[in-house]
């Protein structure tokens, strides 16, 4: 029974996101096409999860605002995922390419220094994952966010009960606009584990791994693939994260200590993913390539996923993409990119407006 539940989690946290992410490999100039081997798998996984988060946000917020039940969100989301997976499956059939599933980078290819660095990287990553499972971090904000997940699972209502006490209240629009805890409820319902276990024991290690997935993709863009600079870059990143507790506010503190909270996912996954996507945009501009629609789709999905994580995510994502694309437009004299970039900001702008009017 437990094995079946664990299998469900593997399905929803790895297999389905990777399946949805394969949509970003369609077409000659698609955003994922620059990657091969493990980079391809990581891109599919991270890109797919971002896409699924965006879909969840787009479906969940209207239901919350109409004070609908959680069950409706679950039904809508399952239907949307089915459509995404069918599309990805059909596209894969059309391409008739077998997926390559090599997940461990580097071994046997580089020189000795490179192999040692990859071993250090994997050892440090494993250490952080084990610590996320073994240790607990007493953070008061869990009393709100994890309780929202638990209440939703128990009562089938969303943001209409005070998480601290359980009293019925007016709809909490401010938090309802960023329903990351409801996604945790979804994982709980799919697997049968309690939301509190999903949040602390499952989501934390998975999101830590995903954050390093984003750094891996960025590192590959900066350092190239076969160089020992890539594993060294990742080891330095790990050191900075592990020793990032120099203040209570750092994104590294959120990443390792409060990884189950949406704002941690925003800081450690979505914002680095936006940097990765901006880097990709700058590469398109540098190489004078046409920017494929799938790229803008992924950028819009990442920004919408940012709004799922935190109400402030909408503003932060717009700021970063606004400044990033403006600098890119100035740097490469390609003003036309500002229009699709502005279009990508629309969902976040809508959530920000809703926050100002109703929050």
């Amino acid at each position: 029974m437990i094995a079946l539940r664990v299998l469900q989690l593997i399905l929803w946290l790895f297999v389905i996101p990777a399946g949805a992410g394969s949509l970003f490999f369609l077409g000659k100039e698609s955003p994922g096409n620059g990657f091969a081997g493990p980079g391809r798998a990581v891109f599919a996984w991270v890109g797919g999860q971002i896409l699924l988060w965006a879909v969840f946000q787009l479906l969940c917020v209207p239901v919350i605002l109409r004070q609908g039940n959680y069950s409706l969100v679950q039904r809508l989301y399952l239907a949307a995922v089915a459509v995404l997976l069918c599309s990805a499956g059909l596209a894969a059939l059309a391409r008739r390419k077998k997926p390559r599933l090599r997940l461990v980078e580097g071994f046997g290819k580089g020189d000795r220094a490179s192999v040692i660095l990859w071993v250090i990287f994997w050892a440090l990553l494993l250490f952080q994952i084990v610590q996320a499972i073994r240790l607990t971090y007493a953070d008061g904000d869990d009393a709100f966010y994890v309780a929202v997940s638990t209440i939703t699972a128990d009562a089938d209502t969303m943001y209409s009960k005070l998480p601290y006490t359980g009293e019925t209240t007016w709809l909490d629009v401010r938090h309802g606009l960023a329903p990351f805890p409801i996604w945790i409820t979804f994982l709980s319902k799919m697997s049968g584990f309690k939301p509190v276990s999903i949040a602390h024991l499952v989501v934390s290690p998975v999101l830590i791994a995903m954050a390093y997935g984003v750094f891996y993709l960025t590192g590959r863009k900066i350092n190239g693939r076969h160089s020992e600079k890539l594993p060294l870059f990742l080891v330095f990143v790990e050191i900075l994260v592990l020793f990032g507790d120099y203040s209570y506010y750092t994104v590294e503190n959120f990443m390792l200590a409060r990884s189950r909270q949406g704002k941690a996912a925003l800081g450690s996954i979505i914002i680095p993913a936006l940097f990765f996507l901006l880097l990709q945009l700058l590469e398109y501009l540098k190489e004078k390539k046409k920017i494929p629609p799938a790229y803008w789709g992924l950028l819009a999905a990442a920004m919408t996923a940012g709004a799922l994580c935190s109400t402030m995510g909408a503003m932060l994502c717009c700021m970063l993409v606004g400044i990033g694309t403006f600098c890119a437009a100035v740097g490469f004299r390609r003003w036309k990119i500002l229009f699709p970039a502005a279009f990508c900001c629309l969902p976040c702008a809508a959530y920000a407006l809703l926050y100002l009017r109703m929050g």
């Binding site: 009562a155 276990s197 990033g324």
Partner: protein
């Protein structure tokens, strides 16, 4: 402006990592030739810093959102990427053994400049797969009634965990009373946390707030007895005594009426 500088100072901690970040930015500005990387990892962070310290922007955000979260704009600075990348670039520019010495020295320097996260005292070994104290799990399991909500008064050390574990266990007050800066005052809470608990007043207030249970540490001193106020000892778990209001009705609600309090 003072608030923004304070937030930046709080974010920096001792400031060494931010110093490395600024030095890394300078190094990449001088050495990195690839235009697209310079734009993203040098110009964008500089503009973001200017925006962060812009008093007009700060005033706007402080007015629209909670000023306390303004520091999150600093999350947009790619500090980790820029420092790691600059260190990797320096490593790549060196030859022979020097590069390994540099890599080791840089790693040690970064460790010394930061603070090891797992040394944080808030990290503790998890007692169960729920990552909350076992006493909370045991007490919630003991007092819950299938099909309806119950309400219980818990001691301060349990407040933030109870409703993470079980949404059907309600409380007359929660975490809001223990966060000092929120200034939420609650007489029942003060009564529960007093050195010596006034049993008669506690029973009175708990009943007024429709609390079916009171959970008290076994070590708590009490003036009077809850059992004299129609509260019976329901059980003793993990050093805590659970009192149940014997006058409260904990039967299941009629069909269609729901089990909400």
């Amino acid at each position: 402006m003072g608030d923004v500088v304070t937030l930046f100072r709080d974010y920096m901690g001792v400031g060494l990592i931010v110093l490395w970040f600024l030095l890394a930015l300078l190094y990449l500005f001088l050495k990195e030739k690839r235009r697209h990387l310079r734009i993203l990892f040098v110009w964008v962070p500089v503009i973001l810093l200017l925006v962060f310290f812009n008093p007009l922007f700060a005033r706007l955000v402080f007015r629209m959102a909670d000023g306390e979260i303004y520091y999150r704009i600093l999350w947009l600075l790619p500090m980790t990427t820029v420092i790691a990348w600059a260190a990797t670039e320096i490593y790549g520019s060196l030859r022979g053994r020097g590069r390994f010495v540099f890599a080791g020295a840089a790693a040690v320097m970064l460790m010394v400049s930061g603070s090891f996260i797992y040394a944080n005292p808030f990290f503790q070994r998890a007692q169960n797969p729920y990552h909350i104290p076992q006493s909370v799990v045991d007490i919630c399991d003991a007092i819950r009634v299938e099909g309806r909500e119950v309400r219980a008064v818990f001691p301060a050390e349990m407040l933030q965990y109870v409703r993470q574990y079980d949404g059907t266990v309600c409380m007359p007050y929660g975490r809001e009373v223990i966060v000092e800066r929120w200034n939420v005052l609650n007489e029942l809470y003060f009564l529960m946390e007093a050195e010596e608990v006034d049993a008669v007043r506690l029973a009175e207030l708990a009943r007024e707030r429709v609390c079916h249970y009171i959970i008290l540490s076994g070590e708590k001193r009490m003036a009077g007895s809850l059992t004299d106020c129609s509260f019976e000892v329901f059980g003793q778990i993990d050093g805590y005594t659970i009192y149940r209001d014997s006058t409260a009705d904990l039967s299941l609600p009629a069909a269609g009426q729901g089990g909400e309090l």
